[in-house]
Symmetry: C2
Subunit: 344 residues, 2 copies
């Protein structure tokens, strides 16, 4: 109970009748130095170590070696589901898997309350060899400091430059969105709407960019750069503009719109096609499978972790990687009904 003094190499040395340096050499000597310790001595030391159960203090080790085989995982929000929103789980799973394969442990630095900063008084982050950064909102000042500093990190999700290129692994939302637009067009849609933000987070911008790149001037009939607006208002705007298909960035909006449309006795996708940009968590549950694209969260996290380890171990240069997002064949995108077509 009364905190027995920890065993140190000095204790082992004394017990084995050698010096501390010899103990250290026995434990992790290079082939060169190891050859200079006779078997007899080595075995004596090893026996003492076995008998006492000594293990080297990783803290002291880290001090001198500089590496820990620990990766930090930084998030502003708490990492575990406080209710249903287990947004982080697939990421954490991917990180853990990769870390384990590579022989690293994980230091979880989750947003302590609201005000947790990377650069605070109590920055335990540097205990790790490097750090994976999770979460959409990320203070840009801090990102810039990270970029400027020497601490290895990799972001999950694309990041704009912050005083220099940011290493990241993200989802390739722009082409994925483009592909869905093309698919809508091939179904015959010529009057397409967009509901969601078009600026702010990089992932948002990418979606809008992919959308606007593929949709023609004549085809984009209306845009609602807003989130969480009452679905009936949205529907009114959509139909006033003669839209046959709507692209939505937020699943919640899509669900609301779908529900409102059904309430009006409309059929989806006959009267209105709905495309969601990215498979959000629990997208399956509402009973309707929205047409969308898959976000390979686990793969992103794995790739980010591997990239981080490359940076840590080999001081690899900054990489930026966007992973392909597979289209998800749902049941909310189809040909516009002839009636609707006639309207045109």
């Amino acid at each position: 109970m009364a905190a027995v003094k920890r065993l140190t190499q000095r204790d082992i040395a004394q017990l084995a009748g050698v010096s501390q340096a010899t103990v250290s050499l026995v434990l992790n000597g290079t082939p060169l130095s190891r050859s200079r310790i006779p078997t007899e001595t080595r075995e004596r030391v090893e026996k003492v170590i076995r008998d006492t159960g000594y293990v080297a203090d990783p803290v002291a080790r880290k001090m001198v070696k500089g590496l820990n085989r620990i990766l930090g995982v930084f998030t502003y929000e708490p990492a575990f589901p406080s209710g249903q929103a287990d947004f982080f789980t697939p990421f954490l799973f991917g990180i853990e898997e990769a870390a384990q394969t590579l022989g690293y442990d994980l230091l979880l630095l989750t947003g302590a309350g609201q005000q947790r900063k990377i650069f605070g008084d109590n920055v335990r982050l540097r205990l790790a060899d490097g750090c994976v950064i999770l979460g959409r909102k990320f203070d840009n000042t801090e990102l810039a400091r990270l970029v400027a500093g020497d601490f290895p990190f990799v972001a999950v999700g694309r990041r704009d430059d912050a005083g220099g290129p940011v290493p990241y692994v993200g989802g390739d939302y722009a082409p994925a969105t483009s592909a869905l637009v093309e698919r809508a067009k091939s179904f015959g849609h010529r009057r397409i709407a967009y509901v969601g933000l078009n600026e702010g987070a990089e992932s948002t911008v990418d979606r809008w960019y992919g959308f606007s790149r593929s949709v023609g001037e004549a085809e984009l009939v209306t845009s609602i750069f807003e989130v969480g607006r009452p679905p009936n208002e949205i529907l009114d705007i959509l139909f006033a503009a003669g839209a046959t298909c709507v692209f939505v960035t937020e699943l919640a909006d899509a669900i609301a719109i779908e529900h409102a449309a059904r309430t009006r006795g409309l059929s989806i996708p006959d009267d209105l096609s709905i495309v969601v940009l990215g498979n959000h968590i629990r997208a399956e549950e509402p009973g309707r499978r929205f047409t969308s694209f898959a976000i390979p969260r686990e793969a992103m996290a794995r790739a980010a972790t591997e990239m981080l380890v490359r940076r840590v171990e080999h001081d690899a240069p900054v990489e930026q990687l966007l992973l392909h997002c597979e289209p998800l064949e749902g049941d909310t995108l189809g040909a516009p009904s002839s009636k609707t077509k006639k309207t045109k």
Copy 2:
């Protein structure tokens, strides 16, 4: 890129024209020593710190102070759901919540493959101030070494002594099981069976103990101390023994038995009551809500974390805590049908 040398207090000292010791005093001086540094000097040092973005190296800090405000979480199995079995999630959530409240970070030490031992060559565990241990199977030798050693830890789940009392927070399964037995008896059941192991893990033993304590000699008609046996065999044995109610430790067994019974055209709970000992993950999904008791996983994890911090910070004595498990009113326990009763 080329790993710029980390800033140290010496650098700060030089820039501010003071000594390293002064920098350290400015950063974390006691009221006594702080009073001896004039405001002017302190501000000069603080400015340099702000300008350079210096942060103290937590490793060096830990070396001298001995504490880190980091808690380890050790599991043999990977901590995150590799598929459906997110067994650990509620525990991790509870631990994270408590750790965050108490101002600790988490070091995840998940079973690296199959052979991860706490006492291995690469024991990174001691980097933390203490450690929460998760998982049912736990090498008893290692537990004994932990008990004997000076490293603070707390187990989630009751543990038998291992060369000394083990600090833990567990679920109080025995009384919870007893309560369910009493409830079955009050429904009129007089011929009760048990399916599940009766030895091995502490949690298993507790269930059997609670069961056998409450059930009378005459009432226990048969026991199948085995898991995963074909459900039809089980049913045959149960009915041969004239059981009207069966207590099952494994949800999988319960599901199989229920299914097999329905296939035979039997009604549950009329023809057979089924009680599951503990709400296993995703117990809701099969469509049928088994009568059982709740395992307060989050609360257990929180309590364990708080207990660990008490041990770390105040060298508190070993505590052992069992949390109440609330009965879960399901729809698989009811009065035996009169027909069945007549059989008696």
